[in-house]
C-alpha cells in the first residue's frame, strides 16, 4: 500500500504471467506424493512468496486479474466431488468462501495499521486501516448474501439461525458500527485515535465470533461442525485446492486494490485541504 506506484501494461502482463506460474507450481505441489500437512504448508509458503514478489515488483494488479479470472473459469469447469444435497453448488466454495477469507486477511491488515497509527501517529496509517475495514465490510455483506442464497438451496431456508450465520452477521455489524462511529468526530486526530482503539478491540471479537463460538455450539450447519454431511475443510480434494487457494489470494488482492484507490482519493482530499 505504498500508494501511487505506477503500473503499466507490461506490469499487468507480467502479473498475469506470474499468476499462471503460481497456479502451475501449486498444481505440482498439491498433486505430489506428500503428506497433507506438508502440501498445505509448502503451498502457503509458495503463495506468500508470490504475493511478496508481486508487491515488490509492482505486479500485484496483474496477479489479481490473473488469479480472479482463473478462479472464475476453473471454478466452473474443474472436476468436483459428487456429494448429495450440495451437488454442483459445491462450486460456491470458489465464490462465497473467498469473501470471508479476504475479509479476515484484510481486517488483519487493518488492525496492523491501527496499531501502527497508535504507535507513530501518522494519519495515513489510519486512512489505510479504515479503507481496509470498509472494503472488508463490503465483502462481509456480500458473503452474508451469497451464503443466504446457498443456504436456501442446501439447508432449506436462507436463514436458519446457524451459529456461524449469526456470528458472521454480528461481526459484520460490529464493523459497520465502526465505520459509522468514525464519522461522528470532527477532529481528525481524535477520530483516528478512537477508531484505532475500537478496531483493536473489534478484531479479536470478530475472530472469536467467526472461529471460536461456532465450534463451541453443538450443531452448526456449516461444514466443519460435528456430524455435518457436507464437506469439511479436509474433505477438499486436490483438484479443489488448486483452485481454492489462488482464488483467495485473487479476491484479497482485488479488495486491497479497491481500498488502495480510496486511500489515494483520501490523500488527494487531504492535500487539497492543506493547500486551502
Amino acid at each position: 500500500m505504498k500508494g501511487a506506484k505506477s503500473y503499466n501494461f507490461l506490469s499487468i502482463l507480467l502479473g498475469i504471467g506470474l499468476s499462471v506460474v503460481t497456479v502451475l507450481v501449486l498444481w505440482l505441489t498439491i498433486g505430489s506424493e506428500m503428506s497433507q500437512g506438508a502440501k498445505v504448508g509448502i503451498s502457503m509458503v509458495q503463495i506468500g512468496a508470490v504475493v511478496y514478489f508481486s508487491f515488490k515488483f509492482g505486479w500485484w494488479k496483474g496477479l489479481c486479474v490473473g488469479l480472479v479470472l482463473f478462479g472464475l473459469t476453473a471454478g466452473m469447469l474443474n472436476e468436483v466431488p459428487r456429494l448429495p444435497i450440495v451437488n454442483e453448488s459445491i462450486r460456491n466454495l470458489y465464490y462465497h468462501v473467498p469473501m470471508w477469507f479476504a475479509m479476515i486477511i484484510m481486517l488483519t491488515g487493518s488492525v496492523v495499521y491501527s496499531i501502527k497509527y497508535l504507535m507513530k501517529g501518522n494519519l495515513d496509517d489510519d486512512r489505510i486501516a479504515t479503507e481496509l475495514a470498509r472494503i472488508s465490510t463490503v465483502f462481509g455483506v456480500l458473503g452474508l448474501i451469497t451464503g443466504m442464497i446457498w443456504a436456501n438451496y442446501t439447508w432449506g431456508a436462507p436463514w436458519s439461525n446457524d451459529a456461524k450465520q449469526l456470528s458472521a452477521l454480528v461481526g459484520t455489524l460490529i464493523y459497520l458500527a465502526f465505520l459509522v462511529v468514525r464519522e461522528s468526530f470532527d477532529d481528525d486526530v481524535q477520530r483516528a485515535r478512537v477508531s484505532s482503539v475500537y478496531s483493536i478491540f473489534a478484531y479479536p471479537l470478530l475472530i472469536t465470533l467467526l472461529f471460536v463460538l461456532p465450534r463451541m455450539m453443538a450443531d452448526s450447519l456449516h461444514p466443519g461442525g460435528n456430524g455435518n454431511p457436507a464437506f469439511g475443510e479436509y474433505d477438499l480434494n486436490e483438484g479443489m485446492r488448486v483452485v481454492f487457494y489462488p482464488v483467495i489470494v485473487g479476491w484479497t488482492l482485488l479488495g486491497v486494490w479497491l481500498a488502495d484507490i480510496r486511500v489515494r482519493t483520501k490523500r488527494c482530499e487531504a492535500k487539497l485541504y492543506e493547500i486551502d
Binding site: V68, N87, R264, C268, L272
Partner: protein, 81 residues
C-alpha cells in the same frame, strides 16, 4: 361382494405402495445428479465466457477510474511544488 371389492382395492393399494417404495430405493441408489449434460454439450463454456466478459469489462472500468485518480494525484503534486 362388498368384501371382495375392498380386498381387491386393498391389493391394488399395497402393490402401488410397493412400487413407490421400490422406485424410492432405486432413486436413492442412483448416482448423485450433476450438470453433466451441460458440460458434455459444451454449453457451460458459454456461461464461463459471459462471466469472463463481465469481469473484464468491470476491470477495464476500474483501470480507467484509476487512471483519472493518478492524473489528479500528479496534478496535486505539481501544484504543491
Amino acid at each position: 361382494m362388498k368384501l371382495s371389492c375392498m380386498k381387491s382395492i386393498n391389493k391394488i393399494l399395497t402393490s402401488i405402495a410397493a412400487m413407490m417404495l421400490s422406485t424410492l430405493t432405486f432413486a436413492q441408489g442412483k448416482e448423485v445428479e450433476m450438470a453433466d449434460g451441460l458440460r458434455s454439450s459444451g454449453k457451460i463454456y458459454v456461461v464461463v465466457a459471459v462471466v469472463v466478459v463481465i469481469f473484464i469489462g468491470l476491470l477495464a472500468y476500474l483501470f480507467a477510474s484509476e487512471r483519472r485518480l493518478k492524473k489528479l494525484e500528479e496534478e496535486l503534486e505539481a501544484n504543491k511544488s
